[in-house]
Structure formats: C-alpha cells, structure tokens
Amino acid sequence: MTQRSAKLTSLFLGAGLLFAACGGRQSAVNAAGIQAERLESLWWIFFWITAVVYVIVMIVLIIAWVKARRSSAQEQPDVPDPARHRRATTVVGGALAITVVTLFILMVTSFRAGGAINSLSEKPPDLSVKVTGHQWWWQIEYQDDVTPGNNVMTANELHVPVGRTVKIMLESDDVIHSLWMPNFHGKKDLIPIYPTTFYFNADKPGTYWGQCAEFCGYQHAKMRLVITAESPEDFQKWLDAGRQTPPIPTEAVQKHGEEIFTTSVCAQCHTIQGTGANGRVGPDLTHIASRPYIGAGAMQNTSDNLANWILDPQKIKPGIKMPQNQFSDEDLRALVTYLESLK
C-alpha cells in the first residue's frame, strides 16, 4: 500500500466511524427525546463554532509560518517599529474580544440547554421507576405508590411510554455506577446511600441501549440496559403482564425444572414470583423468557446461551457473583425449558 492510499483509507475509516455514530441505538447525536435534542443541538453548536475557530487558527498559523520563513531569509535589523507594534496590538486585542464573546455565547447556550433539560422536574412525573445499580447489572422497579402489590421488578430492561415524563430514581448497591442512555439524556451517577433522580421524556418509539458510564469493576463494559420506548397502550400491556405471576408449569419437564430451581442453589439468589424462590442477590427472573438478552446485554436470550450461562457464567462474565454450577444434562435441559416458559 502506498503512503497516499494508506492516508486515504485512514481518512475514510475515520469519517466512517464519525457517521456510524450518528444513527445508532446508543448515540447522543440520534436524539429520541426532547432533552437529548437539546443536548444534540448544543453539541452541534459547539462542534461548528470550535471547527470554524480551529480552521481559522490553522490558516493564521500557516500564514505566520510562511511569512517567518520568508523574513528570516532576509536579515532584519532589530529596530523598534511603532506602526508595526500598534498593528499587532489591534490584532491581538480584536482576537481576544472575539474569543471572549464566543466563549460567552457558548456559556449562555450551555446554561439554557441545562435549564431546559431540568425543566421536566417541575411537574409531577407520569411514571416513577427505581433503578438500582449492582456489579454488574441493573435492577428495575416500577413503583406503584397506591398499591405496592402492583410493583413490577425486572432487570436490565426499561420500558417507557412515549410522550410521558418518567422519573428515574437511582440507587447503588455497591460502588458508584452511572446510567447513560445517550438517546434520551446525559449521564447520571448512582451513588451508594445517596439517592439521585432525573426526569426524561421519550419521543420516538424504538429500542435503545443504555450503558454504565462510570468504571465500576471488571465487567463494567458488560453492564448494559435495553430501553424500549413504546406507545402508552403497549406499555400498559407490558406492565400488566409484568404484574402477573408466570404461568404454572404443565409439562413434566417444566415441573422438574421448577423443582430444581426452587430447591437448589438458584433460589438462594434469584426470585420467581409465585414460587418459593425469593432470593434478592441476583436479578429477578419472574419473566426472564420475555427479555431479549441475558447477563445485562452479555448475550442473546437463547436456549444454548442460557444453558451455557447456567453452567459456567464465570466464562462469559468473569468475576460476577454467580458461581459455576454442576447439573446433569437432563436437569439442565429441564431447568432451561422451565426458564423459557416464564413469559
């Protein structure tokens, strides 16, 4: 590869990376909510102003360099030149004034965007969701202030109705995490014994990714969250389904799976509503079969992946609390069949 083609390739690669980030399900420049729109427009204002400044500075620098090379060729006597000095003072003063004004404009737009983002908290929210960070997964709890029995507990998936204001209450179980859903809002830290909140509003239906944005340990990268923004009717349907206990197993295999789950190690850490399993260490698995991913976005929720996960989660996410497990092939199949019936 010649040097020129190498340069071209890297240029295209760089440009490709830039544009690939623009349409994504985990992108701050693909806003799906009014707050993210403010952030996005703020980003583009900063981008264009700083880009123009950069180009001007580079042009002036090149001019200065060319001039200096020319003038160093002809020896110049070091004599004071009042006219030249005055010119220089005017140029520097002018540049300074433009810089101050530009920075001031950026500051004001930034303040205004910040104010607009926080303005949602002035009205009572339509929905409150408690998000608790664990190493390394998200616990999601839809709280019903009137009937606590209607609370819905899930993990690593957030469903929100489009066009409604959602209040997110953040807590951490262990270390500092940070919830970042770039298509909706900026980052917000989850701090142990210090609850934080933010409000957001989803405008565009779709599925998006959230991510822990504060290094929280070995599996920080595999601490992801699927956000589903859907119509209020669909959301209500999902929430009502979440309030139900899962169907009682009918087939013998599923019954065997339930027996293994509730009487062995699984139930020590996991909850399945409507059964004796009520552990609180790991994610709630009441409706595990309806979730698209397992292990906080580590892999897709398929039978094979689920079986591999149960046997040796330390291979997929080393360092997590879930230990390696030993099950016979038959027991494992029953367990997976049972878990897949938990719609």
Binding site: S264, K315, P323, Q324
Partner: protein
C-alpha cells in the same frame, strides 16, 4: 558510555524479574480447576474400621492458591452466617476455627464434606444451598483462618471494621484431630 549500557541492562533485567514475580500474585483466577466433588465420600463418623484402612486421597484445593477465591470465600463466610456460630474464627456456639483442633478433619475435602453434609449438634448442611465452586472457595477460606493457606493469597483485610488479625498474618497452626468436646454432647 559502557557504564550507561550496563545500568540500562541491569535496570531492564530488574524490571523483567519484578514483572515475572508479580504476575502470579496479582493474577485473578476466575477459572481455577476445582477438585472433583464426586470423589468425596462421606466422612467416617466413628473410629472403628473393618479391615485395613484405605489410604485417604489427599485433595489439593487450588482455590487456596488464589487470592480472589479466598476473598470470595471470606464474603460467603459472613453471607452464609457462619459467623453466627463460629464468630470470626474464635468460636462461640460452634467450635473455633483458628486453633489447631479439628473434630471432623482439617483436609480440604473433609472441610468440604463438613459444609455440604452438616455435622451433629448444630452445623447445618449446605447441600444445594451453595454450588460446589462456592463450597470449595468457602472451604479454602475456612482453612486460611488457622493459617493453612499461603500467606500471599490469604486475605489481608476485612470488608468491614477489622475484627481480628488478618488471615495472611495468622500463625500457622498444626492441625490435629480431637473428639467432640463433652460440652457439645447433648444428654439424651
């Protein structure tokens, strides 16, 4: 000039040796080969034995050479409420674990069996409550309480307020088997 090169070479050598030595200490063994739990037969409760005594295979618990596994075992020790009876090794309702006396054996597989099967007069069975991996980690930690684990892997501090000498500074006891103390025997 020659001296400079010598300094550079010896510094590099020093660095390489340091790096090699430091590797194992800091290695986080998430995938340690655990002993085969199926081979562990129930601990014999009486002293009488018909015929020749079969030699007991000594099981090496690799988790004892792994700092992460020992700290996980230490967490399990408080999470599973072992401290409720054994305190932090000094004992209370249950026997102390930091001394040399072992009623049901000090070998890794014997500690494993004691945790899994439970023992008379109070020790509950943890079968099906912990996975084999967790029991091996816990067994490794239990042995480290009396200094049986290597000093460079045993925990050096507590997650909570320091209650006692850290396990890595614990005096290494010479395990010996003792009978069930009279005080623990219940009158029928």
């Amino acid at each position: 000039m020659k001296k400079d090169i010598r300094i550079i070479i010896s510094a590099a050598l020093f660095l390489v040796i340091g790096l090699i030595l430091a590797c194992e200490r800091e290695e986080r063994g998430f995938r340690v080969q655990q002993p085969d739990s199926n081979r562990i037969a129930s601990k014999q409760l009486g002293t009488l034995q018909a015929g020749e005594t079969a030699p007991t295979p000594v099981t090496q618990n690799e988790y004892e050479n792994n700092a992460l596994a020992l700290s996980t075992g230490k967490q399990l020790f408080s999470q599973m409420n072992c401290t409720g009876c054994h305190a932090h090794g000094g004992g209370g309702i249950g026997p102390p674990l930091m001394d040399a006396k072992w009623i049901y054996g000090s070998q890794p597989e014997q500690v494993f069996a004691t945790i899994v099967e439970g023992r008379p007069n109070g020790m509950p069975a943890f079968r099906n409550k912990l996975s084999d991996q967790q029991v091996w980690q816990l067994a490794a930690y239990v042995r480290s309480i009396s200094g049986q684990a290597p000093k460079d892997t045993a925990p050096g501090r507590d997650d909570d307020m320091q209650a006692k000498t850290p396990e890595n500074s614990q005096h290494k006891e010479k395990p010996k088997n003792v009978a069930v103390p009279k005080s623990a025997e219940t009158s029928q």
